[in-house]
């Protein structure tokens, strides 16, 4: 029997496993996928991005997605739509594949209801903890995961207990200075983006080698702050960690009403089932899958799902509101910087805007806004090349296609912005068990209803207009943006919200089940509201906090 069984090896699972192993406890870290080592990673676009070989085949494992069509909810399996909700099923999870543009939540994100009040149709609540509770763990994650950056004081930049990042920012493309100049001309404050990529060697990990393809790919130098590099390898080095790859947990089983006794696992290669026993179980499989696992673990004592006496399990699922926009920087209209410098590959853009995190506008009123990241269009060659296939609604082929593709790659570079604003929790965004569809292991798949709140789009559009002005100031052409209520499948949270009241929340403030003593959920499921930045830094930080609570629990049990 292990002291702790951690299910899922992504950001949160790695943080919990690391902390417990360092404290001397035995841990089984269970991962459905395989281990891809640093030296095995490549920039193979066909494998990673076109054939999605680090996520399950959608005919084997899938979700059903419910969308409103002509007033009725219609569920479509993702193997029909091609809209995958998997995010990196390998050791380290999707943290291997992230771009690593991270921010801490703002202190007011922990008290959104108190700060802004109710919003009709949104289930906003305050968190049971404050930023001050999480700040030490943000700092810990910054150091252990390896987040590089440069702190600048800003009204919406949260306070920090250390003066600055220990790793300086990664090297930047000349376009960053163009963004700086353009923002300043518009009285906007650009900030250096904290990035989970090492600029310098740190222990067993090398600094970034500026490959030009970072997001969507594993890192070949160990610079990216994946759970695998930063936490799982050091945890393995303690001798306390058992890494169980190609192992999928079908369900959790209780012996007594309030205690999980074992996880039913299946070897994804041989199909053999086995029981994994532990004193404590930590679910960390990514929000929508964690809720699904608990729902699939229903039994006589927990007829509506494990730890679901509140009826809240799976509800208030969160994605990220916002959208994206893009413009073309052409040689002939480029300002301030040299074209050759712009076309230099591999270097980062590293610019964020937090000016609109909270908005107090004379006309639009006072409301929660969001953050903005600038980046180049993804540098995948195939995906950029195939964007040139159409002209005036017709396909382009032959020599004309060759000219168009050549021109696209040599005469301009596309600069892009992404907006992150709150996805307001609401009654039409949740995960439940699909009554008819099962995966290849015979378990009901998760059915996700993914409706956004109208406020999310309103906020996104407000910020998109501001960002388009920045691109205009930069001299970009063919500027456009797109803001919709579509769910961002790579940014998922909620479904097991934490709170002090067992009647309205699934987890307590320590992210332990209100109903089941030895069951924790460590991934982003706990978040009642998501804030207006990517979730990853908060996931890492909270998982370190949860790990400390688990250690206290174990020590208490032992004593």
């Amino acid at each position: 029997m292990y002291d702790v069984v951690v299910i899922g090896s992504g950001a949160s699972g790695g943080a919990v496993a690391y902390t417990l192993c360092k404290a001397g406890f035995t841990v089984a870290l269970v991962e459905k996928g395989r281990l891809i080592k640093r030296e095995e990673f490549s920039k193979d676009e066909l494998a990673y991005c076109r054939r999605d070989l680090v996520t399950p085949n959608l005919f084997d494992e899938f979700h059903t997605i419910e969308e409103k069509v002509q007033g009725k909810w219609v569920a479509t399996p993702t193997h029909e739509s091609g809209w995958s909700f998997w995010n990196g099923n390998i050791v380290g999870g999707s943290s291997n594949l992230m771009s690593g543009m991270l921010h801490r939540l703002h202190p007011d994100d922990f008290r959104l209801k108190s700060k802004y009040g109710e919003i009709k149709g949104a289930n906003i609540v305050d968190w049971p903890i404050s930023y001050a509770d999480l700040e030490p763990y943000y700092t810990l994650a910054e150091e252990l995961v390896g987040i590089s950056g440069h702190y600048e004081k800003h009204p919406f930049e949260p306070w920090r207990s250390t003066p600055n990042f220990s790793q300086k920012p990664t090297t930047e493309n000349a376009v960053s200075s163009l963004i700086d100049k353009s923002c300043k001309a518009l009285d906007i404050t650009p900030l250096v983006t904290p990035r989970a990529v090492l600029s310098q060697k740190k222990g067993h990990r090398e600094g970034c080698y500026y490959s030009n393809l970072c997001g969507s790919y594993g890192c070949s130098s160990g610079a990216k702050g994946s759970s695998r590099e930063a936490l799982i390898y050091p945890a393995l080095a303690t001798g306390k960690l058992t890494l169980l790859t190609n192992t999928h947990i079908k369900s959790l089983h209780t012996k007594d009403k309030d205690k999980v006794s074992y996880a039913l696992a299946i070897d994804t290669i041989t199909g053999k089932e086995k029981k994994i026993k532990g004193k404590i179980f930590v679910v960390a499989t990514q929000a929508h899958e964690s809720a699904r696992l608990l729902l699939n673990s229903h039994n006589a004592d927990h007829p509506n799902g494990l730890g679901n006496s509140s009826g809240e399990l799976g509800k208030n699922l969160l994605f990220s509101g916002g959208g994206a926009g893009q413009g073309e920087l052409h040689q002939e209209s480029l300002k301030h910087i040299k074209f050759n410098d712009l076309m230099t590959t591999g270097l980062f853009v590293n610019r964020s805007i937090l000016d609109w995190y909270f908005i107090d506008h004379w006309w639009y009123g006072k409301f929660k806004g969001g953050s903005v990241e600038f980046m180049f269009e993804h540098q995948n060659v195939i995906s950029r090349a195939i964007k040139n296939n159409y002209k005036d609604g017709s396909l382009v082929w032959g020599k004309e296609l060759g000219e168009r593709v050549f021109k696209r790659f040599t005469t301009h570079k596309n600069i892009r912005f992404e907006i992150f604003n709150d996805w307001l929790p609401n009654d039409d965004c949740f995960v439940s068990l699909d009554p008819t569809h099962k995966d290849k292991y015979g378990m009901p798949v998760g059915k996700l209803r993914v409706e956004g709140h109208p406020q999310d789009v309103k906020v996104g559009k407000y910020i998109a207009k501001k960002c388009e002005k920045v691109l205009e100031e930069m001299g970009a052409k063919n500027i456009y943006s797109s803001v919709s209520s579509g769910a961002s499948q790579n940014l998922v949270a909620g479904g097991c919200r934490f709170g002090n009241d067992p009647k309205t929340s699934v987890l307590n403030a320590h992210c332990r089940s209100h109903d089941v003593q030895n069951l924790y959920v460590a991934d982003a499921s706990f978040m009642p509201t998501g804030g207006s930045v990517a979730y990853t830094w908060t996931i890492y930080a909270n998982a370190f906090r949860v790990a400390d609570k688990i250690i206290a629990n174990l020590l208490h049990t032992l004593s």
């Binding site: 490549s42 193979d44 066909l46 070989l53 060659v381 195939i382 396909l395 060759g402």
Partner: protein
């Protein structure tokens, strides 16, 4: 319309006549039967003398065969590629491969006028460009000529095995 719904819709319209036979005829057999058509289409879309390497020079039909054969390839798209080629030959009375360049252009542009044909040609272009600009290990970006032709380079490290060894 979602991609798979479109594919299913197209089949229901009668564009596929071999739904049952598909189950027993092997992929290799299907591909071999349609290879001349697929090759002719690829070579027309990616001719010699362009800025980017030709289908013939890069052997894009071999890439198409190998990538469609791999377990990661979407089974619906596999059927669609075959069905679309059959439909083209049906429209051209099984003479597409023998047409002149001008008549091939005319035939493909007319095929493109149908939503099904446009969708199929778009898919053929995408699959061909996947070969041209993919990691050289897949054999259709020989000596990185695809990347070099547009001054764009894949990042390092290059792949050591195809499809992550899956």
């Amino acid at each position: 319309m979602k991609r798979r719904i479109f594919l299913i819709f197209a089949s229901l319209l009668g564009l596929s006549t071999q739904v049952q036979a598909r189950k027993v005829i092997t992929f290799e057999h299907n591909f071999k039967a349609l290879e001349p058509t697929l090759r002719a289409v690829q070579e027309h879309l990616f001719p010699q003398g362009s800025r980017i390497p030709s289908a013939k020079e890069m052997d894009l039909t071999k890439f198409l065969f190998e990538t469609m054969k791999h377990s990661s390839f979407d089974r619906d798209i596999k059927d669609f590629v075959f069905e679309g080629a059959r439909e083209l030959e049906k429209r051209e009375k099984n003479r597409f491969t023998k047409l002149s360049i001008e008549l091939k252009e005319k035939a493909l542009r007319e095929y493109e006028e149908t939503s099904y044909g446009s969708n199929w040609l778009g898919r053929m272009m995408t699959l061909s460009m996947e070969g041209l600009f993919s990691d050289p290990i897949y054999g259709a970006n020989k000596q990185e000529k695809g990347w070099k032709s547009i001054h764009a380079y894949g990042a390092f490290p290059l792949a050591k095995e195809k499809y992550l060894g899956v």
